[in-house]
């Protein structure tokens, strides 16, 4: 279908709105506006599409899924807690991938029925179906892992890479056969099922700590699936938008792995945590006893400190303790204590997770210190309060070459005069690695729910 000049101009406006929107998303001050401009572009292109198909008799079919999808999407995205945002991104990303695969599948059926299944189109159908299926299956696994519907640790088995590699080869072979030789619908169904299976197998061996990287990768996959859908339907705006997301998503994925000091290859194929046992043993051998403490002992330590650095982690997010942490900081500041927050780039389950939560609790932005800025402050900090963080303060990353997290940049909380660790139990972090920090003589452990513990600390500090 050849679009009219006006339609093409509309597509151009949408493409520019998306590019401009992404541009504005790069700065905190303009990010929200950027998202709104992208929304205007989306509304425009949907309006144009509605106008193009207005004379179809299929509206009774099209309206209900739009209404239902809008209701479910808006309500679930509004109701979900901020801590669950990462898996919501994974979920909605999978929806887009699934949609792309279904579009391509339907177009294949139509093309086969009408005898127009030419390789100029079928290659894009195969690419769209493969990447879209991979994306929805992988995203669902990522969602299940983050939602703790299945174990977050890496599930590995022997010859994993070999099995996945062979499966990929089979899929590619079937795809080429479907393009070049015979447009067989039954074989096409097999092709989709195998692509879905590969999507599951691809994400299952990846541990919870690496999930942000995988979600970002699957996000760029869905972008590519959307672009190939554009080739299927000869729709330029789909090609532009999909390519934009595919490219920016790839760069973002690489930036995220870099923040964790790991190559993307390493994330995908190392089966993070497979060497956990040996590393855990090493830490246990080195470690002595832990030193549990109480709120009553901690309060004076904090109230009479010069500099206190909070190190928030996923535990703070789970306990939703950010408001209590802000209250504690306020109480300490009233007593002349300087308070800083040390933000590790991958603390929580997504980069920027802690910034979002602390901003929600109205923590002033200048107090949030990025890793490189704050690491020099730890030696003169009287107390480092680690709130539900684990791997990002694990000194094994600096010293133990056999540790799976060796080489990851960490916050040097262990250099503070006293380290206080708020933790639910002695369980390990996402990486499944024991943490020698907990056994250090200057480390005090305060066990319990972070929110309850911090609230009790606030009450106790007020008495000082």
């Amino acid at each position: 279908m050849q679009p009219s000049a006006l339609t093409t101009l509309g597509y151009l406006v949408t493409a520019v709105a998306f590019m401009f929107g992404i541009q504005l998303l790069r700065s905190p001050a303009t990010a929200r506006q950027g998202n709104r401009i992208a929304a205007v572009g989306m509304l425009l292109v949907l309006g144009i599409t509605a106008a193009l198909i207005h004379n179809t008799g299929n509206w009774p079919l099209i309206i209900p899924p739009i209404v239902i999808g809008t209701a479910i999407g808006a309500v679930s995205a509004r109701l979900v807690r901020m801590t669950a945002m990462p898996q919501m991104v994974a979920l909605f990303n999978g929806m887009g991938g699934g949609s792309a695969a279904l579009i391509a599948a339907q177009d294949f059926r139509t093309a086969v029925a009408s005898g127009t299944a030419h390789p100029y189109i079928t290659w894009a159908i195969m690419v769209s179906c493969f990447i879209g299926s991979l994306s929805i299956a992988g995203s669902m696994v990522a969602f299940a892992k983050l939602q703790e519907l299945m174990p977050g640790r890496p599930l590995t088995y022997r010859l994993q890479s070999v099995v996945n590699g062979l499966l990929l080869l089979v899929i590619v072979a079937i795809g080429i056969y479907l393009i070049v030789v015979d447009q067989n619908l039954a074989l096409f169904a097999v092709y989709i099922v195998l692509s879905l299976i590969l999507g599951v197998l691809f994400v299952v061996p990846i541990g919870g700590a690496d999930m942000p990287v995988i979600i970002s990768l699957l996000n760029s996959f869905t972008g590519l699936a959307a672009a190939s859908t554009g080739f299927v339907l000869s729709n330029d705006v789909l090609i532009v938008s999909g390519a934009l997301v595919g490219a920016s998503g790839t760069i973002l994925t690489l930036a995220m792995s870099k923040a964790m000091n790991r190559s993307l290859f390493n994330v995908l194929f190392s089966g993070f945590g497979s060497s956990v046992e040996s590393a855990g043993t090493a830490a246990g051998a080195e470690g002595g006893a832990i030193h549990p403490t109480t709120v009553e002992d901690l309060a004076p330590l904090l109230a009479f400190a010069q500099l206190v650095i909070f190190v928030p982690g996923y535990g703070m997010a789970v306990a939703r303790a950010q408001h209590e942490v802000k209250d504690l900081a306020d109480e300490l500041e009233k007593r002349g204590v300087t308070v800083e927050y040390a933000i590790h780039p991958v603390a929580g389950r997504m980069p920027g997770h802690m910034n979002v939560l602390l901003a929600e609790a109205n923590v002033p932005y200048p107090q949030l210190k990025e890793m490189d800025a704050v690491n020099g402050d730890f030696p003169r900090a009287d107390v480092a309060v680690v709130i539900g963080a684990n791997d990002v303060v694990n000194p094994a990353a600096r010293t133990q070459t056999n540790s799976p997290i060796f080489g990851m940049p960490i916050l040097n909380a262990d250099e503070a005069k006293t380290v206080v660790v708020l933790k639910r139990s002695m369980a390990t972090g996402f990486a499944g690695v024991d943490n020698p920090l907990f056994y250090k003589p200057n480390t005090l452990m305060l066990f319990g729910d972070a929110r309850t513990s911090v609230a009790a600390l606030v009450a106790e500090v007020k008495k000082q």
């Binding site: 929200r32 299929n58 899924p65 887009g96 339907l233 009233k334 997504m350 980069p351």
Partner: protein, 113 residues
């Protein structure tokens, strides 16, 4: 246009857009990685355009089912993806105000910097 021309023009547009995508995401502060991922997640919701296009021409039962599912999933991607992003970005909104407040009323003895 012949199929060859359509394909070549599509490849042309694709390559340019990839280049723009690479350029747009250089040197983004870490704290915006997640909102940016979420924002681009919303943008690929544009597959809904494709879903609507195939839905308009579906003409058998299986086709109807596939089309309805595609429109539903695409709509979820668009709406859910946008709302999630907006909620994340809402968290950054008060920050400039917080900066001003902080500068105006510093805690009395916080001079140790």
């Amino acid at each position: 246009m012949s199929p060859e021309q359509t394909l070549a023009l599509g490849a042309f547009i694709f390559a340019l857009a990839v280049f723009v995508g690479f350029l747009l995401i250089s040197k983004v502060p870490t704290m915006l990685h997640t909102p940016l991922m979420s924002g681009t997640n919303f943008i690929h919701g544009i597959v809904l355009v494709g879903a609507l296009t195939v839905a308009a021409s579906a003409n058998d039962t299986l086709g109807y089912i596939i089309a309805i599912a595609a429109v539903l999933l695409g709509t979820l991607n668009v709406v859910g993806g946008w709302v999630v992003t907006d909620r994340m970005l809402q968290m950054f909104r008060r920050r400039p105000a917080a900066d001003v407040h902080k500068a105006e009323t510093p805690p009395p003895t916080t001079t140790d910097h």
